[in-house]
């Protein structure tokens, strides 16, 4: 009864508060909602906490019951041990290198193609754009065998170019940036053309600076996709010194199946860089996923 009364009075207040969000809840259901959301957040965050906790646990304490959330003793040495056993820092360097290089190439090549599609009305543009869109539907497994054979033919198995080359262009990025360029007002560009500027100048001096948010969104997106990719690096690398973090970790886990503290130390190391990117650019990240819908 009191609950109904409360929600009744709040309902009356709707027009006053009419903002974008419209959840008007009584105190009781608000409390329940908070409790549910907190439990949910616990479920989402706990595996990360448990990963870090396990990474600090000593070998003898790994399988004790009840499980120890705060390990005693705390053994940070696991990070050093896993780095001695496995070239984790090499994986980290490889992942960074591959992600940074392929992201830079993807952003640049996609932006240039997007400019062509958005501003240069050349013959066959629509057809070619459709081809780009169609490739978005093609799953990686469809091309993986011939791509591998091609790389073998080029002598690029187990090499950085082999890891990077399939990811230097992006149909998705071209699409995303074309949409962004289409929303830019043309007046500035037209004024520049009147002053004798070339397309190249307009692209670099006007279109690119005005599209920084879209470029950032796609760049972060491309970085994460590359950082987390597994199937292609798994296929193209065959020695520890060329592996990226996901492949190396999966390898480590396959080899040290019960050394969970070491495996978790490796996992924690691999999560930290992407976590920084996420925390620094959370708005772009979530917005990017929400507007583009595509995920890795």
């Amino acid at each position: 009864m009191p609950r109904d009364a409360a929600s009744g009075t709040e309902d009356l207040a709707v027009p006053v508060h009419s903002g974008r969000r419209r959840g008007i809840l009584s105190l009781g259901s608000r409390g329940l909602l908070y409790a549910a959301l907190l439990v949910g957040a616990g479920v989402m965050l706990f595996p990360f906490v448990w990963m870090v906790s396990t990474s600090l646990t000593s070998d003898g304490q790994l399988f004790v019951t009840p499980p120890q959330l705060i390990p005693s003793p705390v053994q940070p040495d696991n990070y050093g041990r896993v780095a001695d056993l496995y070239p984790i820092l090499t994986f980290l360097r490889n992942s960074l290198l591959v992600a940074l290089v392929s992201t830079s190439f993807q952003v640049l090549s996609s932006a240039m193609a997007a400019y062509a599609f958005a501003r240069l009305r050349f013959r066959g543009a629509d057809g070619l754009f459709l081809v780009y869109l169609a490739t978005l539907m093609v799953p990686l497994p469809v091309i993986i065998a011939p791509l591998f054979i091609e790389m073998r033919y080029l002598g690029l198995i187990n090499s950085y170019p082999g890891l990077i080359l399939p990811g230097v262009a992006s149909a998705f990025g071209t699409f995303l940036l074309r949409q962004a360029f289409l929303t830019l007002p043309r007046e500035l560009e037209e004024a520049a053309f009147v002053d004798g500027a070339s397309h190249w100048t307009v692209f670099w001096r006007i279109v690119m600076p005005l599209s920084k948010p879209a470029l950032a969104t796609f760049g972060i997106f491309a970085f994460m996709a590359s950082w987390n990719s597994f199937l292609w690096p798994l296929v193209i690398t065959n020695s520890l010194d060329m592996m990226t973090l996901p492949v190396g970790l999966s390898n480590l886990q396959g080899q040290y199946t019960t050394a969970w503290n070491l495996v978790m130390a490796g996992s924690t190391i691999s999560v930290i860089p992407i976590l920084f990117v996420y925390l620094a650019a959370q708005r772009y990240v979530i917005q990017g996923f929400a507007t583009s819908g595509i995920k890795g």
């Binding site: 027009p15 419209r22 909602l33 996609s110 240069l120 091309i143 065998a145 396959g254 999560v271």
Partner: protein
């Protein structure tokens, strides 16, 4: 004159397109055609390729290992899709309320989305460790004897489903939340004035107006589910005893363990055609339930 200008325009376009079109052709369009061609050959990369017509396709359709993998993939889809959609919808509805700490909750729910499948699979392998794992410990506290999870053929796929839904919940939430926030508040206000209950408002306003977002997120999730691989490879590697093999794993094993490049390509094209067919059917069916206002 016009021809001259047209040529110059084409030259500029080619310059701008080249950095993306060249790699796209070499590493995407070329391999696609190559894959289709390859599917007509038997080739182990050692002996010269041998043309065998459609034999790879007929063999694939009769391959019991592949049939099992298809079954496991469908099992995954049937378990994963409802879980991730209903979970994501509940989260989106909760976060669409006027609440303090929204940014925190949204960030927390989204965190697994940015984490790699490999790390997620490792985390859940540990949480679902049958002997002393956290999940079975927690179940034990409420008097339930937990199953053997990924070590048990019956529970291997459910383990993968749980880890996958956990990872993708935040993604579904973000898409549906954007859909919820685009529903004009006037509809709810009018319905409230007419005395509609909360459930009626949800059933007759929220669900229909959210249907484009629902359609989109279900489509993307379905297409991705057909290609499930990373988490399976790391959590169970298809085991125990082949109880959780999936189609892409079959392609991976055929191509890179047994070096059957032609056969693997044929299977991958069957997968591609299946995905296209299901997508086409979904687009047909959307008229019945998707409401584009």
């Amino acid at each position: 004159m016009v021809g001259e200008r047209g040529r110059r325009k084409a030259a500029t376009a080619i310059l701008f397109l080249a950095p993306s079109l060249v790699p796209m052709t070499l590493f995407m369009l070329g391999p696609m055609a190559g894959s289709l061609g390859l599917s007509l050959f038997r080739w182990d990369l050692l002996r010269p390729p041998k043309f065998i017509g459609l034999a790879n396709f007929t063999n694939a359709l009769a391959d019991p290992a592949l049939q099992e993998a298809v079954g496991h993939t469908l099992f995954f889809i049937v378990g994963y899709l409802p879980l991730v959609y209903v979970g994501g919808l509940l989260l989106a509805l909760a976060l669409n309320q006027r609440l303090r700490g929204l940014a925190f909750f949204r960030a927390a729910y989204f965190l697994p989305v940015i984490t790699s499948w490999v790390v997620v699979a490792i985390m859940w392998r540990w949480l679902l460790n049958p002997g002393t794992g956290m999940v079975n410990f927690a179940l034990g506290l409420v008097g339930i004897q937990g199953p053997g999870w990924w070590t048990d053929p019956t529970w291997a796929m459910p383990s993968i489903i749980i880890a996958s839904a956990w990872k993708d919940l935040g993604y579904v939430m973000v898409i549906l939340l954007a859909g919820l926030q685009s529903i004009p508040p006037e509809y709810y206000e009018a319905a409230s004035v007419d005395g509609a209950s909360r459930w009626t408002r949800f059933r007759h306003i929220t669900l229909p107006l959210l249907s484009p977002a629902s359609f989109f997120v279900l489509m993307i999730s379905l297409i991705n589910s057909f290609q499930v691989f990373d988490q399976v490879q790391v959590m169970t590697a298809g085991g125990p005893a082949g109880a959780s093999t999936v189609v892409v794993q079959q392609i991976y094993v055929d191509a890179f363990r047994y070096s059957q490049m032609g056969y693997a390509s044929a299977v991958s094209w069957l997968l591609f055609v299946a995905i296209l067919a299901v997508t086409a059917v979904q687009f047909r069916l959307q008229k019945r339930w998707v409401n584009y206002a």
